[in-house]
């Protein structure tokens, strides 16, 4: 359970994105639609993976990526898991918003993928599921499914679940400077029951990930939860950068 396995082409890091594209994602954030902010942050995260995987113009498949978007239904954007060089070739699609927020259905799809494919990643870094949403779920409670996912493990550690919640409703104190923000700790005051639920649905940031975050100039504290309140584009971006923080060579 050390989370120190390096992402290499022979032991790639699996990162699964589960993104809420409900209608509320059309709302404005700093003059742009939330969906556009998220799309940009996702693109930056994919570019970060490519940056870390590139030798010359060759992209080593150090990362494997799956991308699901959900609303009432779940859509598998890449048709399963794709190595990062394939993602670079495919590019990121234009995404548009839909209606409801069936978070449980989205996580059920992720659980199904992991049940089918986790065996392929036994010698790899622990997979990471990055969930982004801007509202409370409208279907079943996703927490039992998330707990089952967090119970899955490879020798490097349990599957990590990260939540980026685009809302200014969960933190009691605003984040003044994301670069100096210590993150959401066990004793951080949260304003809503859903905030508490999200913290329970989020893994603790492994020390090896924290080192990578420090290298990216984020002063995240030990023991922080992998839960980011996406109150602005910078924090949304920080959340997506966290999803790429598997140690690399």
């Amino acid at each position: 359970m050390s989370y120190d396995m390096l992402a290499t082409s022979k032991t790639p890091a699996l990162v699964i994105y589960l993104l809420d594209f409900s209608g509320s994602m059309s709302r404005s954030m700093e003059g742009r639609r939330r969906i556009d902010v998220v799309g940009e942050a996702l693109k930056a995260a994919i570019q970060q993976m490519i940056f870390r995987s590139t030798k010359g113009s060759l992209i080593s498949p150090r990362y494997h990526v799956a991308l699901y978007v959900y609303s009432r239904d779940v859509f598998d954007v890449f048709d399963g898991i794709k190595p990062i060089h394939e993602v670079a070739r495919l590019g990121l699609p234009e995404l548009s918003t839909m209606n409801s927020t069936d978070t449980a259905k989205g996580f059920a799809q992720v659980e199904k993928l992991l049940q089918a494919r986790l065996g392929d990643y036994q010698d790899c870094p622990a997979p990471l599921v990055c969930h982004m949403s801007d509202g409370e779920y409208t279907g079943k409670d996703p927490q039992p499914i998330v707990e089952r996912i967090m119970g899955m493990a490879v020798p490097d550690g349990n599957v990590l679940v990260e939540n980026i919640f685009i809302s200014d409703q969960i933190l009691a104190k605003p984040v003044d400077d994301p670069k100096q923000w210590p993150g959401i700790l066990a004793d951080t005051e949260l304003r809503t029951a859903y905030g508490l639920k999200l913290r329970a649905m989020s893994s603790l940031l492994p020390p090896s990930y924290r080192i990578m975050m420090l290298e990216m100039d984020y002063q995240i504290a030990p023991g922080a939860a992998m839960l980011l309140p996406g109150v602005n584009a910078e924090l949304v971006g920080m959340g997506f950068q966290m999803s790429t923080a598997t140690p690399v060579m």
Partner: protein
């Protein structure tokens, strides 16, 4: 591989198994292997190894291109050539570390100009995916980067009666020293520094280059072995002694099989006591001793024997060299057998014969004392061979 004028540029687009080159008073081993990721698609390795020798001196540069910079192989190649040129042409025959360090820093800064031009003019291939092109342009803005270990050995001469060694390095490539009494790497002060490198954009990054200067002969002189390797061969870090040729090749092969496989460049110089008599330099000979992974040696040029100024002898020369070595081994074997037979005669047969002679016998017997000719030490003249 061999380029005449004692200059060796090790190709970045193929593997070079462990190869030994010998000159008067020195022996050099080197090897090169690309990361597993780069081999299958036939890409260029990002390490660069170049060295040059003559009757007066020997200089080398081992550079490890930073893969997260813009085409690290580009930076490594540029820097390796620039360092070797400076060491060979412009290094002042002095021992003052401050003066030499300042001169090196000045060069590392001056090279950013032509290096940046090189980076800016580098054309990306057509048809690259947009996401990759964006990342490469981002890297281009940051420049190409490389770590390095380089050095120059001046054999004793009128200008430098005790000879001289200058070693300069930045970054996490390994530099280790040994003397007759064991490893002396601690004398270098500090270990590999991952934050240090040379940047085509900024010059030295993460501090100033480290420098080691010493005479080659005399009290407190240079260690007898200098080993340099890139971090792809970090498996050697735990070894107290340098590995034998076959073991070294095995370490390289094993490193290339590991998930963390990285480019490997290895270079080592062993100096003999003959240096004290000013016998260094001379005509080097060279042979491939490692098979390399998947018969890598078979994919290479034939083993070459280079003689500066006289061109290149190909595998025939290597075969003659091997035959000569086999001949010496036979001579050594014969001497050893004669020695053993002599010892048996001296310690067993002679006392028995004396005992026999002490008894009254009707007919005296003459016994020849065993003759042991002074045998030549089989390691003499090959003191650098292990």
């Amino acid at each position: 591989m061999g380029e005449g004028s004692g200059l060796r540029r090790i190709a970045q687009d193929r593997e070079s198994p462990v190869t030994v080159a010998r000159g008067e008073g020195w022996l050099c081993r080197y090897a090169y292997a690309r990361a597993a990721d780069l081999r299958a698609p036939g890409r260029t390795g990002q390490d660069y190894l170049v060295w040059r020798e003559s009757a007066q001196a020997l200089a080398f540069a081992l550079c490890d291109g930073v893969s997260q910079s813009f085409f690290g192989d580009l930076g490594a190649r540029f820097l390796g050539e620039a360092l070797l040129g400076w060491l060979w042409e412009d290094l002042s025959p002095i021992f003052d570390p401050d003066v030499l360090r300042n001169a090196l820093v000045e060069q590392l800064l001056a090279w950013t100009g032509p290096a940046t031009e090189l980076v800016q003019s580098y054309r990306l291939a057509h048809g690259l995916p947009e996401l990759l092109r964006g990342v490469l342009e981002e890297k281009r803005a940051l420049g190409s980067q490389s770590t390095f270990v380089s050095g120059r050995f001046d054999w004793p001469s009128g200008e430098l009666p005790e000879g001289r060694v200058v070693l300069a390095w930045m970054g996490d490539s390994r530099l280790r020293l040994w003397g007759p009494e064991g490893e002396r790497t601690a004398e270098l002060g500090g270990g590999p520094e991952t934050a240090q490198r040379w940047s085509s954009l900024k010059g030295p990054v993460g501090g100033e280059p480290h420098l080691y200067i010493a005479p080659l002969v005399g009290a407190g002189s240079l260690p007898t072995r200098v080993m340099v390797y890139s971090d792809g061969l970090a498996v050697l870090d735990g070894l107290a002694q340098p590995p034998l040729d076959e073991a070294l090749q095995a370490f390289i092969d094993r490193s290339e099989m590991a998930p963390t496989s990285d480019d490997i460049a290895f270079w080592e110089l062993q100096l003999s006591a003959d240096l004290a008599s000013g016998a260094a330099g001379g005509e080097p000979v060279e042979e491939v001793v490692g098979a390399g992974p998947s018969g890598a040696a078979g994919q290479q040029e034939q083993p070459v024997v280079t003689t500066p100024g006289t061109g290149i002898l190909t595998s025939g020369g290597a075969r003659r060299l091997r035959r000569r070595l086999v001949g010496w081994k036979l001579v050594a074997l014969v001497i050893a057998v004669v020695g053993v037979v002599g010892a048996i005669g001296w310690f067993i047969l002679l006392p028995a014969l004396r005992e026999y002679r002490a008894k009254p016998t009707p007919t005296p017997t003459a016994v020849l004392a065993p003759t042991v000719r002074p045998g030549r030490d089989p390691s003499r003249g090959r003191g650098l061979l292990r």
